[in-house]
Symmetry: C2
Subunit: 472 residues, 2 copies
């Protein structure tokens, strides 16, 4: 589960990237991927998510919401830094082999693809499993529907039962090459989905890329004995120093392109990688004028427009072929044919230091979330949501005091040496330099409005003395 | 000062219409109109503003801000309802005649025009004053620069000293007629600016439209003895019942088009009625790509776009000839050539009950303003600004309690029977059904954050017991 999704700005951002983005039809790409994994896996098979350590809580929260029955099977393997796909997948293979035996089959599913036909998907996976059982490293190839230059291609070779040998992998082609691939019928898009036995992958990697496997094994050994995260026994973060020493390389380049027994199963299922707002639009119903509208938006004398409102009214007048995406702090207006260039906006805004490229006004934390309602010179106002059983760090601020008013639920509050329950419609005051802690001991969310007074309201003015989430 | 300016949505709204809209170069149309009036009027001449009663405080606030030295000369004549221009101007003429004598000259300036060259304006006004002194009803005609179909035209007749007799007024023409007017050189745009002696207008109106002048005189008599508004001696509201009985008709139609001695002074000054976003754009500098940008906006591979941001980041990618206007609760995206159709949006949104057609998230009140920061199911959060010397009504709420935290200044607060000063970084609590009052006894603005808790947060849950502004 990686995928920054910068082409999906302003909704997809570093702090809440593409896999967590709400989809037009409801749900999220990560939730859909979990559902697919549940569909094709044995009832006791571990559901392993490899992702960045910063997304651990978001991921577990989402899983508990969409598949609470599978909670005991979830295992997070967390990357302390970003090192491409090979380190993450190879470490997962070592972990599976150690936990369940080398003959265990791994199905690797990127968390940012949309697949609707789960029955067909399951039958394609069954074909891949059979090939993997024979020792093949299996990829899934998507039959191309256009001369796409944004994907790598797989050229199929001799037929196998349920698939083909891979003749070769090819890099992202130019337009004419891509057109020739589509016309030729022997090339498939490489969607980054794989199926293999753990031992087959490890053996192939030892041969194909010992320069990667050496540091991967070192990292595995350095990490194996480590305690899981205090707040969740099913989240293991790889040892940072030895993880950082692994070359950042893709599993395709490190292993698949260099290995011998590589097979491809052409996908019979539908597939959309939601790579741009155009792809999102394909998932939205169109009205008589070809407009696709989500949220509070109105189109007058307009055609072929995609209007996404999350908070505010959008009104379009006399415009064609536009994609408009509105969020609490940023609005995108792009021509439909320029959806790929949205990343240019992100680059330009990042150069300007614009916060909207990384964070939303709503920020998720291990204990819940906060939304900035006002960020003024004289105060900052936030709505805080604390999840059941969660607790913020014991902390103090040097340059601001805080006024808390509980608007939903009952909070457990410590201010200085006093600890007490703060009910709905009650408020308390935390002076500058005063130790305080906020806790939810109930079984429902609590909401507070926090008014900060002071001369500096940065998130770095937090001195943490105790923290359940390891942030001291 | 009327002018709803629906073509300038989402910035111009009923609660803060076009004359108060911030202009790209700074200032407002109403402020500019006051400056023009100051430039050409005698130092003791009354500055009379005819406007709707609901805009009285906004108007006086603006005048105090931009021309405090002229405060003693300001007089508001307030309309209790909207009845077009004839009732307002004829009542003003009666008021001037009674106060300063019938030979007083009135210069009537709409508050929603932009004129930059004040010297030339003053010299044109001098010509009009000379003609008015002779008993002419003088209009100003704008030499047409395009075949505009949105204005009425004035055909000039024989020459007079400083101007021309008016041959006739013509209604808004079709495109070919407008083109013929521009080519012919005898037609001028009717800009709704007038100059006449009070007695000349009254006499002409008595002859031309007795059916209007009868009810106007009745309203004047019914209103004359009335007390001015308690909070400001220089604001007179016309008697509502008799004002409502006056036919709603324009001064052009009621008097100018039917009177004998009507003259026109062709305008030598520049003139922009800021009738649409296109006209606003003409006041903004253009970059190398023809983009006009205001606020936090970025244009990538885009041309001929006007981007107005008031609060959030706007990013445009690969688009041309668009007008984008962003406000706290609504975003407009219009093709540049469709600027006139923005009113269609307002009509459509009004039919949907969308609040953004009438009010902004920031609402102006006689005592200051408030901005809604959060409007949730469990609470409503506002930032309140109370101006120096102002006081909110003594009030109570039946369905909400309030938590106030002062973030700038010192407030005078009454809660129940207690009254006390609340300093910055202090808070207080107002229970349901408890009388309270908020006051600014200092000489600087105070700011508070108000957190409302309850089950209903409508503005109609206010029971006022005393109110300086007559709202009990």
């Amino acid at each position: 589960s990686g995928g920054a999704g910068t082409r999906l700005w302003p909704v997809s951002r570093k702090s809440l990237p593409k896999p967590f983005m709400p989809l037009p039809a409801g749900g999220t790409l990560l939730g859909g991927t979990l559902a697919r994994a549940l569909r094709v896996s044995g009832s006791d098979a571990p559901l392993v998510t490899v992702t960045a350590a910063t997304y651990a809580h978001l991921t577990l929260d989402l899983y508990r919401r969409v598949a609470p029955e599978a909670d005991a099977r979830q295992q997070l393997l967390l990357e302390p830094s970003s090192r491409n796909t090979a380190p993450a997948i190879l470490l997962a293979a070592l972990w599976i082999a150690a936990r369940r035996g080398g003959h265990s089959t791994l199905l690797v599913l990127p968390a940012d693809h949309l697949i609707r036909n789960e029955d067909v998907f399951a039958s394609d996976v069954a074909k891949a499993q059979a090939l993997a059982a024979e020792g093949h490293l299996v990829t899934f190839g998507i039959p191309p529907t256009r001369a796409e230059t944004g994907y790598g291609y797989i050229e199929r070779g001799d037929a196998l039962e349920g698939g083909f040998k891979v003749a070769r992998f090819v890099e992202k082609p130019d337009a004419s090459t891509a057109a020739a691939y589509v016309a030729g019928g022997r090339h498939l898009w490489n969607a980054g989905m794989f199926c293999f036995r753990a031992d087959a992958l490890i053996e192939a990697a030892d041969l194909a890329c010992p320069e990667v496997m050496g540091p991967v094994r070192a990292c595995f050994l350095a990490s194996d004995a480590r305690q899981p995260r205090r707040d969740d026994a099913r989240a293991l973060t790889w040892d940072a120093a030895s993880f950082d020493a692994i070359p950042g390389i893709s599993i395709d380049y490190a292993v698949m392109e260099r290995a011998d027994r590589v097979a491809v199963v052409p996908a019979s299922f539908d597939w959309n990688d939601i790579g741009s707002w155009t792809a999102v639009g394909e998932e939205m119903p169109s009205d008589a004028d070809g407009n696709r509208i989500r949220g509070d938006a109105i189109a007058i004398d307009s055609h072929g427009c995609q209007l996404h409102s999350t908070a505010r009214t959008i009104a379009a007048v006399g415009v064609c072929d536009l994609t408009v995406v509105e969020t609490a702090d940023a609005v995108l207006i792009a021509h439909r044919d320029r959806a790929q260039d949205v990343k240019k906006v992100v680059d330009a805004l990042r150069a300007r230091g614009n916060a909207s490229v990384d964070t939303h006004l709503t920020v998720h934390r291990p204990w819940g979330s906060y939304t900035v309602l006002e960020d003024g010179a004289d105060c900052k106002v936030k709505r805080l949501t604390v999840k059941p059983g969660q607790v913020l760090s014991l902390q103090l601020h040097h340059r601001r005091s805080e006024h808390w008013t509980v608007v939903t639920g009952t909070a457990r509050v410590r201010v200085g040496d006093e600890e007490f329950d703060l009910e709905r419609n009650h408020s308390t005051y935390i002076p500058v330099e005063t130790l305080h802690r906020l806790e939810n001991r109930t079984d429902t969310d609590i909401h507070l409005i926090e008014v900060q007074c002071g001369d500096y309201f940065g998130e770095d003015d937090i001195e943490r003395l105790e923290d359940r989430y390891g942030r001291v």
